[in-house]
Amino acid sequence: MTEEIIISGFGGQGVLSMGKILAYSGLMQGQEVSWMPSYGPEQRGGTANVTVILSDSRISSPVLHTYDTAIVLNQPSLERFESRIKPGGTLIYDGNGFHKFPTRTDINVYRIDATEYAYANNSAKTMNMIILGGLLKIRPIVTVENVLRGLKKSLPERHHHLLGMNESAIQIGMELIKQQNAV
């Protein structure tokens, strides 16, 4: 099994750290992993993205141009990556601030209003974990248990008291995600 994922959004939305948590979860699960961030001008204020690959075998290219799954958190990311999802693949988007919506009918499209939920519940910092929960509901590529082990590994010890909060954010995400198109 190989899962090729792109996560893209504004800098500050937790895109790179969501990818990092996913990569650590794959590590905990004994998989091969690669995490390749955009480190260019995008990272300095515009759109940030990260490519995460989880696989049972050696990973060839860490840089990809088509993906099994795309998670897009802003309009420019949707415009850039919708066309690059493999037919039959998965698109997850947070509709906050969108004025144009996904149009492809040959992929599975899901919407998760994590930003709206996070602001309403004063939990903006766990927004990316809500989205990760949504991903895991529809693509259970890593277990929640391994995500929490991965989090523990990637978070400095002084933040370990936040693990419970992150776990509930994952559960919330699993409930929030809604299918928009199925193939």
Binding site: K20, Y24, M28, W35, Y39, S60, P62, V63
Partner: protein, 365 residues
């Protein structure tokens, strides 16, 4: 998380792996100046504070020119010393590298390449191949060049580069690129080796300038010899050493070449992309293989020559305008078509476009 041998498997960036490996291989001194996409090397060293544990010096110099000359000074004392930079910074270091080659001094330079020419871009590139393997500074010299294609190799190549540099008394370079530096992968770090004691340095490197003992003649470190005959003697000694390196130290990786009709030749990130293109080609029934030079100097010309009489063609893929392809052509002596595909300025080619290039340049003609 541990592997079969119970060694800890970590997840880290290639740049971070270089820093950890440097401390673990007993490096004595790091001198550098920050530049994207490799600044995490010095950042990680500063965080790890090795001066408190192994005694390794980590120093941010005022420029790249100062860095390489600090390395020069430390190397003259037989110390394991290193610097790291990215393309424009490595250009600034070329004079120092040439001086060190001329003074027969070992050191490690890491170039995490970015797009050029000039100040260029911070995105990954492989456009410094010529500069590195053909001699970026003046004079007839070569430097041992290792091209890692994974975070694990970033870690492993540090001690390998130091071993080769000291074995042949020459600078060695790790030629990586922004992708290998910035991506995170699994890595098992090498075991700790203690730094050499002064006694060990005197024994391993009798040429080192550690202070003259009454019974010894003074050691002199210089690349200057005003008498032409004396300078030619140094050159002959260097050339003899380069032939020895070419005969003994070639490293490459070969994938699926045994039954191949076509072979991709690529190093570093391009080799990773080619590996994916090779998988896609095999799914379509095209018998493709991959040869990945791991040492760029010495270049693995014999294996390329070997396959030149077995396959229908080779496609060299690089993130530049076509540099290593010249060495692939020299190695295959015109026996088969050798084509090139590349992207420039910080663009990484996609596996699809590489496969397409194989078809249009070699198969469908």
């Amino acid at each position: 998380m541990t592997d079969q041998n119970n060694e800890e498997v970590l997840l880290m960036k290639g740049n971070e792996a270089i820093a950890h490996a440097a401390i673990r291989c007993g490096c004595d001194g790091y001198f550098g100046y920050p530049i994207t996409p490799q600044s995490e090397i010095m950042e990680t060293l500063m965080e790890l504070e090795p001066w408190n544990t192994t005694g390794m010096v980590v120093l941010q110099a005022e420029s790249e020119v100062a860095s390489i000359n600090m390395v020069y000074g430390a190397a003259g004392c037989g110390k394991k010393s290193m610097t790291t930079s990215s393309s424009p910074g490595v250009s600034l270091m070329q004079e120092g590298i040439s001086y060190m080659a001329g003074s027969e001094l070992p050191c490690l330079i890491v170039n995490v390449m970015r797009g050029g020419p000039g100040l260029g871009t911070i995105q990954a590139s492989q456009a410094d191949y010529f500069q590195t393997v053909k001699g970026g500074g003046h004079g007839d010299y070569r430097i041992i060049t290792l091209a890692p294609a994974s975070v694990q190799e970033m870690a492993d190549h540090v001690s390998l580069a130091f071993d080769l540099a000291f074995k042949y008394r020459t600078p060695a370079m790790i030629l990586a690129d922004g992708i290998i530096g910035q991506m995170m992968e699994k890595v098992v770090l090498p075991p700790y080796q203690p730094r050499w004691t002064e006694g060990e340095i005197r024994e391993k490197s009798p040429w080192a300038t550690l202070g003259k003992r009454p019974q010894n003649k003074p050691n002199v470190i210089t690349s200057l010899a005003l008498q032409a005959e004396e300078m030619e003697e140094l050159n002959l000694r260097l050339q003899a050493r380069y032939r020895e390196i070419e005969n003994n130290e070639v490293i490459y990786e070969e994938l699926n070449c045994e039954d191949a009709d076509y072979i991709f030749v690529a190093f570093g990130t391009s080799a990773r992309v080619c590996q994916k293109a090779m998988e896609l080609a095999r799914e379509e029934g095209i018998k493709a293989g991959l040869i990945r030079p791991i040492t760029l100097y010495p270049f693995p010309k014999d294996i390329l020559k070997h396959y030149a009489s077995k396959v229908k063609g080779m496609l060299t893929v690089e993130m530049n305008a076509g540099q290593m392809v010249e060495d692939v052509k020299l190695s295959t002596c015109g026996k088969i078509p050798v084509e090139f595909y590349g992207r420039m300025g910080g663009i990484v080619p996609s596996p699809d476009e590489v496969l397409n290039a194989l078809k249009t340049k070699l198969i469908e003609i």
